[in-house]
């Protein structure tokens, strides 16, 4: 079962975090709510060939290994998410972001079928953190 991707949102200042943090880096608050991050754009893709034929996960079960296609996805709410992607998803594609447990997956297309958390939020990127010298704008 997969569910639409959600990230943590600080209700005080709107800072978005994925994976979740304990204190908000922007305002220090410790209350978080969930915010839908169900879509985004693929910025980079790579393929990892398997390291071992079978591999044991940290919690004990064994997994047969295949090549894994991985992507960095800029979610529409502004948080970068590292996700598994199926064959055919390329750089520049719009994707739907879903989660299976704590695993992020980006699927072709941008429509998220189930929207259990209210209406699709307007895009918002993180407010700038306190400036540090040398910090530059992204590309």
């Amino acid at each position: 079962m997969s569910a639409p991707m959600t990230v943590a949102e600080c209700p005080t200042c709107g800072y978005l975090a994925y994976p979740p943090r304990i204190l908000c880096p922007n305002c220090g608050d410790s209350d978080w709510k969930r915010r839908l991050a169900g879509s985004g754009v693929v910025t980079e893709v790579t393929v990892r060939r398997p390291v071992f034929k079978r591999r044991q996960l940290p919690w004990g079960n064994w997994l047969d290994q295949e090549a894994t296609r991985l992507a960095a996805v800029q979610s529409d709410v502004g948080v970068r998410i590292i996700a598994r992607v199926p064959e055919g998803v390329e750089v520049g594609d719009r994707v739907a972001l879903v989660q299976q447990g704590s695993t992020a997956i980006a699927l072709p297309g941008h429509q998220v079928e189930a929207v259990p958390l209210g209406e699709e939020p307007a895009a918002r990127v993180n407010p700038p953190l306190s400036d540090w010298p040398g910090r530059q704008e992204g590309e």
């Binding site: 790579t46 591999r55 540090w132």
Partner: protein, 386 residues
Amino acid sequence: MSSGSEARIVGAAEATYERHPAVERRTDTFIAEAVVAALADAGVDHGEVDGFGVASFSLAPDHAVDLAWKLGLTVKWLMEDTNGGASGVNMLQHAQRAIEAGDAETIVIAAGDRMEKREFHLMTDRYNKVARDYMAPLPLNGPNALFAFLTERYSRAHGLEREDWACVPIAQRAWATKNPGAVYRSPMTLDDYLDSVPIAPPLTRYDCVPIVSGGDAIVVTSAERAEELGGPSVGVRAIRSIYNPDQQDGDGINTGFAAIRDDLWSAAGVRPEDVGAAFIYDDYPVMVAVQLGDLGLIPGMDIKRYVHKTLLEEGWPMNTSGGQLSAGQAGAAGGLHGIVEATRQLRGEAGERQVEGLELALATGYGMVLYTHGASHNAAVLERHG
């Protein structure tokens, strides 16, 4: 109350890096060999050591004090560092202050790991809670994919092709041919690089460090003791560090090194163009470019010209051991590898690859991927004395 003095590095050594060590050669073995060799290099007696710092991914369930016991060291100053690729510079920063404050006079800083493929992947799957809970299940299979993303991003931002990236490992391999301690020593051609096995495209085998087992150590003592010991020693002009500068919200190619740059050079009282060699934490070629750029070593940020002309054609001394890309990455020892080579070069002990007349050098540390990129950044400006 004892008062301290300036700190000096008076010895440095490496336990020979091995790709497939015999079963009885454990993490402790490699660290101990490096410690013994560094003390011998310094001409310092084992009983004189009163401070010890260590970094290792595979010490558990032991800690620094267990290792001090096993090495027979009674110390007044003890630390264990968990900053991986940034652990060497971090321990040096702390050791320098301990010696200045008079808390200890002669400190051994060591790092090492027995690290083979299986141990490496167990380590990366449990690197931190985010790696264990969010990354291992993807499965991520270690950090290569994340640095493939950073390489793509940097290539796009600076217009680089694979032929440009090739300059970094090829230039470092040219140095490695003169380092008997490097695991890869045969010259690399552009075709070797372009034809190498894909690991996580665009990264191929030669963009990734060979996983090795090994250990590194340095001996740091007071300026007075260094004088008694005689011969050249290495002083610390300045060290600056920054951890978690961007909450992982940044792009990973504009880094905390830019945040510490101005303070580092002003505290050191020199400019980037004054250093005669650089020892850059080279887990991937992209991080070499990022650090050289963010720390101000690339004139006009013309990275393309820098890698082709300065590094490859002119052979400017950057990572003269061959770096981790050719010498190997022995787990946490990777964080000390550059300082060991910098010390050898500044003390004039680098043999066939010795840089003539070297007075000032830069050594950096980088590491600890929290989610998308490294969070630990530090840099040291080191100078020759005597």
